[in-house]
């Protein structure tokens, strides 16, 4: 260890003058480390302001001691916890107590329990309750009651259909508003508003029974269905099981009977099924007796309600014939006894015909015996034909709401020209009583006359007939083309016969004698060989040529009283029933038993053939048997 000064290598080298320089140091109480630029945000002036005074205390060292003043709260608390001190205290107090008088020893004892009590005090504020009961003022109630506000309970369900209804309503409102926008004129709007107001006021007034119309109709049908329950069941399901034992013969099961009391004295002159609604049919009432001509009625019945007609129309003259349009099932054309024709529109609620012919517009001068709708002409106008005893076949067209007529053919009796005054050749006019149009060949139609002749005519030739058949000895009551076979037609007459013809051959294929004047004949829509004929002695005959070529497979009296003549028969297009009208104004509905509806049996191994071709071939086979020229005599 040397005692020489060791100079650190980085010591300042100073001159002696510098070394002697006096440097003054001032001691202040300021803390040199204290910050001098503290700023605080003043909310009053909303700016940062420097604090003028800054704490200058500098703490060099601090150490928290763990000594407590004994008498302080904390000290007492801790000593209570430890429990050592009080014992020391006790001994001290006891000592003091022993020094003093003996009775004070008792006191000495007291303080320890006191101190104990004091120690048990958990209330650190030495809280003592100072309560005092005051006199309570009497309470008085002041209330007032009002009428409760009007309340209504509202409850609703949110079902699927309620939501659907709401949407549909919205849609309708939108559509209505769109329509109103399109109709812009203000005047119209005002009218609408006025009308709307009137409507609402009236609606609320009338607690209307008319709103129950639809429900009433349904209920009426239900009530009827209940009453005629067994008939309805028969209609739908009953198939006569006895037919198996009856050896090809069939029966007609009577179902409903339709009658209207206001039409009781009128004969049924025409019946027609509605092409669209298969349970609806129209009945025309009038009178065949030319001495007793009175009013007429047109009624439409439905099988769903046998006790009351659906539609009722009155007319001044008896109705002789009617037809329903195929495409417009609400349009009916009617021919009257006084020679007029009229069109009724079922959609309109008037009880009068929509359009009617008159003497000016070319009505017939004799009763109209048959009317038939035709296809709409080139201008899409409705078109129908009518035939009458005045010898004219007239085509009527509905042009711009008016009936325009044009004579198609004038029937004249061949070979009966008479010498009239001044050398005129007068042709006797034939009287047409029935006609039928070919289903496929549009221009071809047949006309039956009162003289018993059937003419084959064409729409395009107005003066000549294509062919003439000497059919019957008396008036031809009905002619009808076969629905399947193109060449075959049937005719019936008051000379008691029904004849089946091939329009290329002059003589009839089949002749049937029914022992009474035949009122009407109709082909069945489901078979080419089945037809029905009705006679004035109240019988209905059903023939099936494929089963029996000479006799009816069913001859049944249908109407109750013997004096009742049957006037018309019609097959229903889909159901196995026929309706028969008589001259008492009743229409009877009958069901055909299974034997009357036989379809050709399939040979084993062959496929079941369906369709109209089958029917055509069936009839062809029969005709071929019969067509042998003059060899086989027929009855």
């Amino acid at each position: 260890m040397s005692k020489t000064l060791l100079k650190p290598p980085d010591q300042l080298e100073l001159t002696e003058a510098e070394l002697k320089e006096e440097v003054t140091r001032i001691l202040t109480a300021n803390n040199p480390h204290a910050p001098q630029n503290i700023v605080r945000y003043s909310f009053k002036e909303r700016a940062y302001k420097p604090i003028s005074y800054v704490d200058q205390l500098a703490i060099h060292f601090s150490l928290d001691g763990n000594l407590l003043l004994r008498d302080s709260d904390e000290g007492r608390r801790q000593s209570a916890k430890i429990g050592l001190e009080p014992e020391v205290e006790e001994t001290e107090v006891k000592e003091e107590g022993s020094k003093e008088d003996i009775p004070e020893a008792g006191e000495g004892e007291e303080p320890p329990p006191h101190s104990r009590k004091e120690q048990k005090l958990t209330n650190q504020f030495n809280f003592c309750e100072r309560a005092s009961q005051t006199f309570n003022n009497p309470v008085r109630e002041r209330a007032c009651q009002m009428e409760p506000p009007p309340r209504a309970t509202f409850s609703a369900t949110a079902n699927q259909w309620e939501i659907y209804d709401a949407y549909v309503e919205e849609l309708q409102k939108l559509e209505k508003s769109k329509e109103k926008e399109k109709q812009k004129p203000l005047v119209a709007k005002k009218e609408d508003k006025a009308r709307g107001r009137k409507l609402t006021s009236l609606e609320s007034q009338s607690d209307d029974v008319t709103k129950v119309t639809k429900a009433a109709k349904i209920v009426e049908r239900m009530v009827n269905q209940n009453t005629f329950d067994d008939l309805a069941q028969d209609f739908k399901y009953f198939e006569d099981p006895a037919d198996e034992y009856r050896d090809q013969e069939g029966t007609l099961l009577p179902l409903w009977k339709f009658q209207y009391d206001k039409a009781k004295r009128l004969a049924v002159t025409a019946i027609c099924w509605n092409p669209k609604y298969k349970d609806l049919f129209a009945v025309g009432h009038g009178s065949y007796d030319f001495m007793k001509q009175s009013r007429g009625m047109l009624l439409l019945y439905t099988m769903k309600n046998p006790s009351f007609p659906e539609y009722i129309f009155n007319s001044e003259s008896g109705i002789m014939c009617l037809d329903i349009h195929n495409d417009h099932p609400y349009l009916l054309v009617v021919g009257f006894y006084d020679g007029n024709v009229a069109i009724y529109n079922l959609k309109k609620s008037h009880s009068q015909p929509g359009y009617k012919s008159s003497a000016k517009s070319g009505k017939h001068t004799d009763p109209v015996w048959q009317v038939k709708w035709q296809k709409d002409d080139l201008d899409n106008n409705l078109n129908f034909f009518s035939i009458s005893s005045d010898g004219r076949i007239v085509s009527w067209t509905l042009v711009k709401n008016e009936l325009v007529h044009s004579d198609v053919i004038k029937l004249s009796v061949e070979g009966t020209t008479m010498e009239g005054p001044e050398g005129l050749q007068l042709q006797t006019i034939g009287c047409g009583t029935s006609f039928d149009f070919h289903k496929k060949i549009d221009y071809l139609f047949l006309v039956g006359t009162e003289e018993g002749k059937i003419y084959k005519c064409s729409k395009s030739y107005s003066s000549q007939f294509l062919d003439t058949f000497d059919a019957h000895h008396m008036a031809v009551d009905a002619v009808s083309w076969n629905p399947y076979h193109m060449k075959v037609f049937i005719s019936c007459s008051s000379d008691w016969t029904v004849k089946i013809w091939d329009h290329t051959i002059k003589t009839p294929m089949f002749i049937f004698d029914l022992n009474s004047a035949v009122g009407d004949v109709a082909w069945a829509p489901y078979s080419s060989t089945i037809f029905a004929a009705v006679t004035t002695d109240g019988k209905a005959h059903v023939f099936d040529l494929s089963i029996n070529k000479y006799e009816a497979i069913c001859s049944q009296p249908v109407v109750a009283k013997k004096k009742n003549k049957i006037t018309h028969v019609q097959f229903n297009p889909i159901y196995p029933i026929i309706i028969i009208g008589d001259d008492r104004g009743h229409v009877t509905c009958l069901k055909l038993s299974p034997n009357l509806r036989k379809m050709p049996k399939e040979k084993k191994g062959q496929e079941i053939q369906k369709g109209p071709e089958v029917e055509i071939t069936k009839l062809d086979k029969l005709l071929n048997l019969v067509r042998e020229p003059a060899n086989k005599p027929k009855k």
Binding site: T213, A216, M222
Partner: protein, 118 residues
């Protein structure tokens, strides 16, 4: 019942004469139903379940109206819940003694009690 001069019938605006015929027609239909074989009574109930027209006595009417109204609402709700585009056409309740037929409408309900004679 006062006849309205101009009003609606099933949503169609009709003139006086047409409305009279419509009203007369309904009246006739209801009379026919009442006169039909086996019909015991007819009741027309409005949308709130209050009978407005009846051929039975008061207490029976009120009972039928109240009960059947609820049943019809329930039935209709059921049918429409399954398919909202569907709607109830009519309701038939066949009991031992007779048959109750209910035909609901938008605002009214027509009840007919019939004894189908068998």
């Amino acid at each position: 019942m006062p006849l309205p001069l101009k009003g609606t019938c099933n949503g169609m605006l009709l003139t006086c004469s047409a409305l009279v015929t419509a009203w007369a027609e309904v009246e006739e239909t209801l009379k026919r139903i009442q006169a039909h074989k086996g019909v015991i009574g007819t009741i027309v109930v409005n949308a709130e379940g209050i009978p407005i027209r009846t051929t039975l006595d008061n207490s029976t009417t009120v009972q039928y109206a109240g009960l059947l109204h609820q049943l019809t609402m329930k039935a209709r709700s059921t049918v429409r819940d399954i398919d909202p585009q569907n709607d109830l056409t009519f309701l038939r309740i066949r009991s031992k003694k007779h048959e109750i037929m209910v035909a609901p409408d938008k605002e009214y309900l027509l009840i007919v009690i019939q004894n189908p004679c068998e």
